[in-house]
């Protein structure tokens, strides 16, 4: 339930009232604060009586309005200052409200698998068609996932710590000379996790520099 405020000059949800104040379409001095507070308390009681959860946004908006008005009453500021105080308090809230609006607009779009449906996915087209591979949107979470999965599968021998045997630069050049490589291949040619890690870092460097391109087909990552 939206709490609807009824005033001589206004009837509607509180967020609308706040919006109008922000837009200067209603004068904050004209708003009978005690009436809003009363209606607000009635709303709170009604919510509690029905065992409903209080809408925290409402609470927030009511307090913003009260804060706004009390500040203006105490300071008896100039027109300009009034304006300033008003927007100082309401601007962030209006920002927030507009994102709420944006969210509901997104939700009213034709959402996939709710309102509209594509053909049922069978085999991924990449598995069947040669020549079109979907470019992976480089995503740290997925790359880390892929790395972890391969480490699990990778070499299990004990690691002895010794001066670095491999450098990112060296692996970078090696990968660069290749036209295409599978992440899985890198794991299998690596003698230990360290080497694989260096490969992986070189790979990221390639992509970072825009030389490499990562594509996905199934669960595999490829470098072109």
């Amino acid at each position: 339930m939206d709490c609807v405020i009824k005033l001589p000059e206004f009837e509607g949800p509180l967020d609308l009232l706040l919006y109008l104040v922000h837009k200067n379409e209603m004068d904050i001095f004209e708003i009978p604060l005690s009436s809003i507070t009363d209606q607000f308390l009635d709303y709170v009681e009604a919510c509690l009586a029905e065992g409903r959860r209080l809408n925290p946004e409402f609470l927030f908006m009511a307090s913003v309005l009260i804060h706004l008005k009390s500040r203006l009453l105490i300071d008896t500021p100039s027109e300009e200052e009034t304006q300033e105080t008003q927007s100082e308090i309401t601007t962030p809230l209006i920002g927030y409200l507009s994102f709420k609006e944006a969210a509901s607009r997104l939700n009213s779009l034709e959402v996939l698998f709710r309102d509209v449906f594509p053909r049922r996915p069978g085999n991924s087209i990449e598995e069947i068609v040669v020549g079109i591979e979907r470019e992976l949107e480089v995503d740290l979470a997925r790359l880390t996932q892929a790395f972890r999965a391969l480490v699990k599968r990778g070499p299990t021998e004990k690691i002895t710590i010794s001066p670095p045997k491999w450098t990112v630069r060296e692996k970078f050049e090696e990968l660069r000379s290749k036209e295409r490589v599978r992440l899985r291949e890198l794991a299998s040619i690596s003698s230990c996790i360290e080497e694989f890690l260096v490969y992986f870092m070189a790979l990221l460097e390639l992509v970072f520099q825009g030389i490499g391109r990562i594509t996905e087909s199934g669960d595999e990552v490829e470098v072109l």
């Binding site: 507009s98 994102f99 944006a102 969210a103 034709e110 959402v111 509209v116 996915p121 079109i132």
Partner: protein, 192 residues
Amino acid sequence: MTSTRSQRLELIVEAILFFSDRPLSIKELEEILQEHTYGEIKEAVLSLKKGYEAMNRSFLLVEVAGGFQFRTREEFSVFIQRLYRSSPYRLSEAALETLAIIAYRQPISKGEIEELRGVDVSHILKVLLEKGLVRVAGRKEVPGRPLLYGTTKRFLEVFGLKDINHLPQIEELAPPSGEIHSPKGEDGGKGH
């Protein structure tokens, strides 16, 4: 291009798009159909799209996420849902709001989102990342170099948007820095 050749191309494009499990862009079609030019393919796709609209069937060829995909019309969703076992796409209100903030203000850091939302968004952000709707889009060059978030192609697919410039227009969310341009073209007025 002779008319039989262009009709034939339209059928070829139809077959490929019918078979594809995701939106295909004209550029991708061009890679498969090397004997045809980009312009010819584009013409074929658009003619096919118009054709389906005119036929008034239960599905349409929709331009989404930079590509084209056959999708059922919205009015039949109820019936498909009876068949489609997994639960429809659902996001909590909080997640949707966070997603909206990211969509309209990308690239944006977690701190900036929290400033707007007034609450911690770590968990929601994780959910959105896992669902593939949001991605890490870089780092902000300020002390601490916080991660910046943006929306993905999947986001466009899920919300049926041609591209990020086709977000519904919201007066108060006019881009401050011009990162998101106002929609151009025929459905530019959709957001009003």
